[in-house]
């Protein structure tokens, strides 16, 4: 079978040449480090380099028996579930509104995409300021109810702050994907539902949402995997894992263990575990969710 992509390139080496830079980037900066992490997780590494000893599963036994690892893992899962859900739900609401051609939806579409251009660390710095208990937008609360908003002391407040920043940074991409999904629905689909007597709200739940499930699923999968890793910049700039370790997510713990604590083997082992977790998670999502939303347009 000759597919159109084969006919596109007359020279058989051209496609290879075009793919090489990206492939190299992925291999050098993703597959090699990951492979290294797996490799190191079976060795005991000296903190300042120079020789390592093969220890088999000893690193895993040590990490898995560490209550702090499980604590961080639990926080990661909570962050992932709440953060990802909100990071899809909020853009979904915005996308539905923008799709309805409400007043100002055109400028809103542009404005909502802008955060895409802001780096995670910058978002962290900005949100740390926004949520600052003395100078931020919630500081008046503290004037009326002293101590109600204290992300520097209260772990829950810090966690909420972290999630808010994460959701905000996730809006642009998910918004674009979901809006594109909504706008790809044929106009007659809305008209048919209107003729069937369904009002605007009913159409959202009966027609629009079920039909953009592929896009919702896509954003959810990406969010789940990304929330595990990309939270690092936020944690690092906003809370440093504090207060009292309440925002110490696994990805941040790995960094601290490895580069502050010089427990390179432990960090590599946790990286390997985290990696396996993400892979399994994505696989499970495809297996359970993906099957239910398959339909032919």
């Amino acid at each position: 079978m000759s597919s159109p992509t084969q006919a596109l390139f007359a020279n058989r080496w051209l496609p290879v040449l075009l793919v090489t830079p990206l492939a190299l980037l992925i291999v050098i900066f993703f597959y090699v480090p990951i492979f290294q992490a797996f490799y190191w997780s079976f060795f005991l590494e000296r903190p300042f380099g120079g020789g390592s000893i093969f220890v088999g599963w000893a690193n895993f036994a040590r990490v898995l028996s560490d209550p702090q690892f499980w604590e961080a893992g639990k926080r990661t899962v909570i962050f992932m579930v709440i953060g990802s859900s909100l990071a899809v739900l909020v853009p979904l609401i915005l996308a539905v509104a923008a799709d309805r051609q409400l007043r100002l939806s055109q400028p809103a579409r542009n404005v909502l995409v802008w955060p895409k251009g802001v780096a995670g660390a910058s978002i962290g710095v900005i949100f740390a300021f926004i949520f600052n208990p003395f100078a931020g937008i919630l500081s008046p609360l503290n004037q009326w109810f002293p101590g109600i908003w204290a992300p520097g002391i209260d772990g829950t407040d810090a966690f909420i702050m972290l999630i808010a920043a994460h959701v905000w940074s996730g809006i642009p991409f998910n918004f674009v994907i979901l809006l594109a999904g909504l706008q790809s629905l044929p106009r007659t689909m809305h008209q048919a539902a209107a003729m069937d007597g369904a009002g605007a709200w009913r159409r959202i739940f009966d027609v629009q949402l079920p039909l953009i499930m592929p896009q919702v699923f896509l954003t959810l999968v990406l969010e789940f995997t990304e929330s595990v890793t990309s939270a690092f910049a936020l944690v690092d700039t906003m809370t440093k894992g504090g207060p009292g370790g309440s925002t110490n997510l696994l990805v941040y713990k790995i960094y601290v263990d490895g580069f502050n604590g010089y427990d390179l083997s432990g960090a590599a082992t946790q990286t390997a575990i985290l990696m396996v977790f993400v892979v399994l998670l994505t696989g499970a999502q495809f297996a359970f969710l993906g099957r239910r939303i398959n339909y032919e347009r």
């Binding site: 689909m189 039909l211 347009r297």
Partner: protein
């Protein structure tokens, strides 16, 4: 006849369009004020070229577009300000617009569900409709698993399950292949005979219009060119536009000049006797032209043998003249044709307005 048929027949209501107009920007009128009465239970085909406003007209009847002026009544009820769901009309869309994530059953039942009909009653209604349309065995399937004709039937089922007073079709057959289109045409005609719903059917296909319609409303640039039975429209077209739009091949139209006695072509050849003066357009259908031994001379340029009949294209004083000859007719091989235009089959149109000049050839 089952309960659904009876209910639809009883619900069928006339549609009155009174000075209905549509303009999107307030200055250019897509549809200038338009009056028409579509009788209860009648199958009306709205026919016109693309961009003539026929879909807009239908959307206004459906309530998917607001009218810019005038009133629309279903029976005695004014509906132009009502939401689609309050109007009691149903619509079959060109691309069917079936809900891909719902089963055939749910597609058909959706409007009943929205209306809050209890489940047992819903099931009964959907099954009755499904049986009528031959969809009973497909109720559990998703639209993606159906053929084009089956999807079409689901779309129709979804429309009639509510027992609408008015049934609207927006070019429903244009996505089907030729064979299926033919079959669906027959099915639609049969369905209409059974349920007797007031039906408005928008199309640009004259064959669909001729075969399905009780009356055809021909629309040109938002104006009604003619609104009459297929037979009248074919044999007594009200304008050049209608004459050219209906019939395959369409009616021949040649410019002529009258001197009070006869009509002549620009090159002087006499076409017919007629006591008029000035510029006119003369029309004659390809199948009404008689071959052999007539006074009118034309040069044969091209012939298309279609088996059942042959279409000849001839040059008549610089105009293309199409002649449809009956099966078995001896056409011969000569390049020079001698033709007769029977006066009773001629149509005279005003050169400027394009409207027919009635009684021009009835001496």
């Amino acid at each position: 006849m089952n309960a659904i048929d009876t209910a639809i027949r009883a619900a069928a209501s006339a549609i009155m369009l009174d000075k209905v107009s549509k303009s999107y920007d307030g200055t250019t009128e897509v549809i200038p004020p338009l009056d028409a009465e579509l009788r209860a239970g009648e199958f009306t085909v709205v026919l016109g070229p693309s961009g003539c406003g026929k879909s807009t007209l239908m959307q206004m009847i459906a309530g998917l577009e607001r009218v810019s002026g005038g009133t629309i009544s279903f029976g005695t009820r004014q509906v132009q300000d009502l939401e689609p769901k309050q109007r009691g009309c149903a619509m079959v869309f060109q691309n069917y617009a079936l809900y891909p994530h719902m089963s055939v059953f749910d597609n058909i039942a959706y409007s009943l569900k929205v209306a809050g009909m209890p489940k047992p009653e819903r099931v009964e209604r959907v099954e009755a409709v499904a049986k009528m349309l031959g969809l009973f065995d497909l109720l559990a399937r998703k639209p993606g698993q159906l053929s084009g004709g089956q999807r079409q039937r689901v779309a129709i089922g979804r429309a009639i399950v509510r027992e609408p007073g008015v049934l609207l079709f927006d070019e429903p057959l244009s996505n089907l292949d030729a064979q299926l289109r033919h079959d669906m045409r027959m099915e639609l005609a049969e369905l209409h005979r059974r349920i007797g719903a007031t039906t408005v059917f928008v199309t640009h296909d004259q064959v669909e219009a001729m075969t399905l319609a009780d009356r055809i409303l021909i629309l040109n640039k938002g104006r009604i060119e003619q609104f009459d039975t297929p037979k009248t429209i074919y044999h007594q077209p009200a304008s050049v536009f209608v004459a050219k739009f209906i019939g395959a091949p369409p009616m021949n139209i040649v410019p002529v000049t009258g001197n009070g006695k006869v009509l002549r072509l620009a090159d002087g050849q006499v076409m017919a006797e007629c006591p008029v003066f000035g510029a006119y357009q003369l029309g004659i259908r390809p199948e009404d032209i008689l071959l052999g031994g007539g006074p009118i001379k034309a040069n044969l340029r091209y012939r298309e043998d279609l088996g059942s009949h042959t279409i000849l294209a001839a040059d008549l004083g610089g105009n293309v003249l199409r002649i449809a000859t009956p099966f078995g007719a001896d056409i011969g091989t000569e390049a020079h044709l001698s033709l007769t235009f029977p006066p009773a089959r001629l149509h005279l149109f005003d050169a400027e307005t394009g409207r027919v000049v009635p009684g021009a050839f009835s001496q």
